[in-house]
Amino acid sequence: MQLRIDHLSKTYPNGTRALDDVSLAIAPGMFGLLGPNGAGKSTLMRIVATLQEPEAGSVSLGEIDVLRDKEAVRRTLGYLPQEFGVYPKVTAEDLLDHFAVLKGITDRAERRRLVTALLEQTNLQRDRAKQLGGFSGGMRQRFGIAVALLGDPRLIIVDEPTAGLDPEERNRFHNLISETGTENTVVILSTHIVSDVSNLCSRMAIIRQGKILSACTPRQAVDELKGSVWEGTVPREHFIPFKSQFNVISSRTFDGQARLRVIAKGQRPSEEFAPATPVLEDYYFDLVNRQD
């Protein structure tokens, strides 16, 4: 089952062009949608999750026309939005059971087995009888994953899932989300955190100002920069002239000096620079810089 997005456009009433002729083909597996805040990721996710209408374009999931046959999509969809709330006075088990009913799982025994398994999977079994209002951010996020996994979904959308999580919970979330991708499931991970994509996704796209800048695998992205990334330290006062001369993709001030990462194909920028192993962030910043 493949998710196809063709020429999708969306402009908000205030004139913001959130999506500008976006086209993507997403095969089963983990797909990372990477972009800065305000790039249009959440708009794209909401459209695919049947919660928003585009002005133009089409979206299909296998044989299903997402924009027309919304109920069919919802039967096979697991969605964890960026801002995800709960009823604070309801227990994790009760709310998960309620969502299972809304998913159409009416058999009580089946539902109980499913809810128990999902709470186990997300490590919430011990907290099943606790009210959701008392859950930490990470526990709530894991609960969200449990909701998204209800009813054997074929399309899972997780929007900015690790924003605000501490490193430990983020790690735990990575483990959990990586388990969800099966050979028949499309998992879209929308994020502005580059390492989330590099850690989890086999394919990715970079979106900015509503346009897809690149769609490839993380390996292809990194391979493209092999031998071109340099790292070195220059006096702070040299930074501005250096920046005008070379493609500086990141800079950090350390001990009164500027520590720079530069892309220069085939030539060392200066003696202070040594070759560096490219990472996905380099590709991302290079692409974004080129657009600026």
């Binding site: 969605y79 939005p81 009416t106 087995r113 999977q121 590099s198």
Partner: protein, 583 residues
Amino acid sequence: MRSLFQTSFAAVFRNEVLLNAKRVAPYVLIVFFASNAVLWWGWGPAVETGWATNSEFYIQRNMGGFSFILGLPIFTGIIVGDAVIRDFRLGVDPLIFSKPVGRGSYLLGKFLGNFFVLVCCQSAFAITFFLLQWVPFSKMVVLPVRVVPYFKHFFMIVVISHLSLAAIYFAAGTLTRNAKVVYGLAASFYPTYIAYQLLVLKNVPRIFSVLLDPLGGRVGEGGLMKDPWHTSADVLNKLEVSYRLDQYVNRGSDIVLSALLLLIVYFWYRIDPVERKSEAFTKLTLSEAPKRIAYSGPSYGLIDSPIEVLPAVDQIPIPKVTSTRGPATTLFQMIAAMGVEFQLLRAERGLLVLTPLAIILSFFSVPFSRMPVEVSYSVASATNTANMLLLFLACVIVFYTGEAMHRDREVKIEPVVWSTPAPNSAFLLSRFLAITLLGLLLVVIGGLTTMVAQFYSGFTPVDFSAYLMINGVVVVPGIIFMTAFVVALNVLLRNKYLAYVAAVSIGAGLFYLYSIGYNHWSYNLLLYQLWHYANLTRWPILGHRLYCLAFALLLLALAHVFFERKSSRTSLNVAGEIIEDAE
């Protein structure tokens, strides 16, 4: 030296006025009050009785009415009650409290800023009424143009009364930081005030009834004004309304009460975050988790944090389940959603407030002395309860339906709920049925209370069938209609505050029409003042009830057609405008 306009008090005050200027509610109130002034002026009792529409008597009378009816005490709560709560809700509290703003400046600026907006809204009534002196109707008696009485009575009766009410709501909202407490107070205003009038003020000497009335209901009352219907219009038109010492003391005590409440708020107010009762949840650590982790990590060497890789065999198998569709599934989903609604209603402890109110109202609807009754004491008591509970149920339905319809959006669970395949009808009908059942529960409680009160008063036998008949034929269809109406209103307006204002305005407008004689079953679906016990089982009334139920069905169908699962992330910008996030 800084002028008053450069102080932090002025900044907070100005900001509150600007924020309110961006809200819809004040404008709706202005239109609502102004249109009521037109109605009261042109179609009020003055035209028929020959009272001059700008006589001091009529001005004072209308200000008293305006201050009490039209839901003004409730609107006061809506405008003033959440002034401080709003800062915490929007998360701007750390930004404000990290600035050198004194507690007094902040609280007084908040209170007076919102109260100023409230008075501006209220003055729409007085100003419209004042301007209408220049547009007399035919056959309408109008005296030479006058100015002072309008502003004198507006200030004495409306502004001062609502100053103390506003202080109560503000204190409750600021100290509890819970908007629901304010709404609860606002909703319980009428039953509480009416009970206070009947239980206390009615039974104390007149001077105390004047002094102890916080709303100044007896301010300006006295002499001829006590019984205007039996006084000649000429005498009333020449009457000059003045206030006596006890009445000034009453007004002064309202101001003192407000000052005291603000002082209490000043001393008790805390800016630290409210401690949330959190569960002692287990802190899970990675050392406990690996057995459940089955991570097939990427092979690019790009991982910035090491993740343990375990074979997939350790995954917890998720059982295969069957998803069903069709009417039976929809019904099941509806019942489940209704169960959640009741669970949330119970958790909000709303029932704990509503049940005693229903009991108090019903208890006082029993006639406590022998009086000629139409058919029997049971009929009289059941009729009184039905009438008494009508306004109470209307308030409950309007506010709880608004809460239920918009709760998912407020707790941000809406996108997840709407991404499920449950049909719209399951969401709409579950809320409709939950609120209807809540209404029925209150009717049952009210009916039982009345029966018990009747029994203990010695007015036996208690005729159960009379209660059943009146509630079954009159009250129950009324509840169904009101709930369907408010559900439709919330779907169409997509904003609970707009729906509140619209529902209250429409309700008040209709009751006003009924009270001045425009009362027909086709637009009086609650059959207010249109039924007699003897006719309840006869065709015209039963036909009217069927019409009412059909209308409710139509409203639900309308709600279903216009219900949209359209999610957008909205937030407030610094100016308080709603903006749609382009992310």
